[in-house]
Symmetry: C2
Subunit: 229 residues, 2 copies
């Protein structure tokens, strides 16, 4: 597939490397590609700089939002939640129309310190806002409940554990689930929660998730749903 990733942070880098390794053609979009490629400061999540990463990932096309190809098969939103709508607007409705947008961002606001809050929640969600802003696109929320390391390597947690998808379009959810399977997720561990409104639930898990990360001292954990037989 031809995959466009919005965002060049640790989440985007990790996905780009893995998708390229899987044989996909990968475009990574940012505001100013030359500035991004020149970045030498270490990313606090990954511990290395964009430049360090790019040395080993030259086959990934790093382009401006507006320069993404028209014929991408899927668009991954790996920007920070507060900037997602701006980034998608910079790509433009035309290039997003008809496409699956896999939205893995969370609308977290750390500006008031810990614990972070959500800029949208309860009666709305970032997933819904994106779907509303781009009605011709098919938004699927997923991967937002796990750390970027687990996204592409679920076996880092040595037990079954779950991932969730929310979206209005069944064929887009299937397309996302197929991609998740390529990333190493077992299909029986992926739960379809329903329409894009159900993204409220997974986005609202984030304050709890961040609390747990602090308790465990690692972001490499996940939820396994267990039930009465």
């Amino acid at each position: 597939m031809k995959i466009a990733i919005l965002g060049t942070g640790a989440v985007g880098q990790n996905l780009a490397s893995k998708l390229r390794e899987l044989g996909h053609e990968v475009y990574m979009a940012t505001r100013n590609p030359e500035d991004t490629k020149a970045r030498t400061e270490a990313n606090p999540m990954s511990g290395s700089s964009f430049q360090d990463w790019y040395v080993n990932n030259q086959h990934v096309h790093v382009v401006a939002y507006g320069d993404l190809p028209k014929d991408a098969d899927m668009v991954l939103n790996a920007t920070s939640g507060q900037h997602s709508l701006d980034a998608l607007n910079a790509v433009g409705t035309d290039k997003l129309s008809g496409k699956t947008i896999l939205d893995l961002a969370n609308p977290l606001d750390f500006s008031q310190g810990m614990p972070p809050t959500l800029t949208v929640c309860n009666t709305d969600s970032l997933g819904e806002q994106i779907q509303l802003a781009f009605p011709e696109s098919k938004v699927v929320k997923s991967l937002n409940t796990v750390n970027f390391g687990l996204m592409t390597n679920p076996s880092l947690v040595p037990e079954d554990h779950n991932l969730f998808v929310s979206g209005n379009d069944e064929s887009s959810k299937k397309q996302v689930i197929d991609l998740l399977a390529q990333l190493g997720w077992q299909k029986q561990n992926i739960l379809d929660l329903g329409d894009i409104k159900t993204a409220r639930g997974t986005e609202m898990m984030l304050p709890f998730w961040i609390n747990l990360m602090g308790k465990f001292g690692t972001p490499l954990f996940n939820f396994k749903l267990v039930k009465n037989q």
Copy 2:
């Protein structure tokens, strides 16, 4: 112990029966005890009426909020989240002062249909509101992430699964954890999340929880946290 339970619904009934069975002296508080005892309509959660339940639980003292004994060792808030502050105010600051309030309510609002929303979240929580309203009491949030059936019988889910406690007072959290152990919870599965602010995280899980209950067709499920070793 002498335990006061606020609320006479399915959650309160189930806890009262179990705590009485464990040998505790149990008081159950409601607005109007005679009205409550006369209720013959089936509770949608338990399938039976208060009267049916009371026939087999005559040793539980059913009293008005204001008539709870002064010397209860712990107060359990099993009212619906929207009425919790009113119920606690009806008990009165004097009787709650110095005591552990185990708050298991969620501030859910079903009035606009499904999915329900929370009346307080993100920058505040019901647990915090109760702590703020009753500063001389020691609020511990717990049990709000599981169905009432699991609360008193965690082995209904045949695998390890987790419960969470949030609260400012360490000795009250210890008192609650000891009570949870009596209810069947293994202490190693109970995670102390931190102060009462962390109740935001577990209360905000509810929209997701209700979504999952619909998917699974049963409320008898829970989360098991699994992590990288």
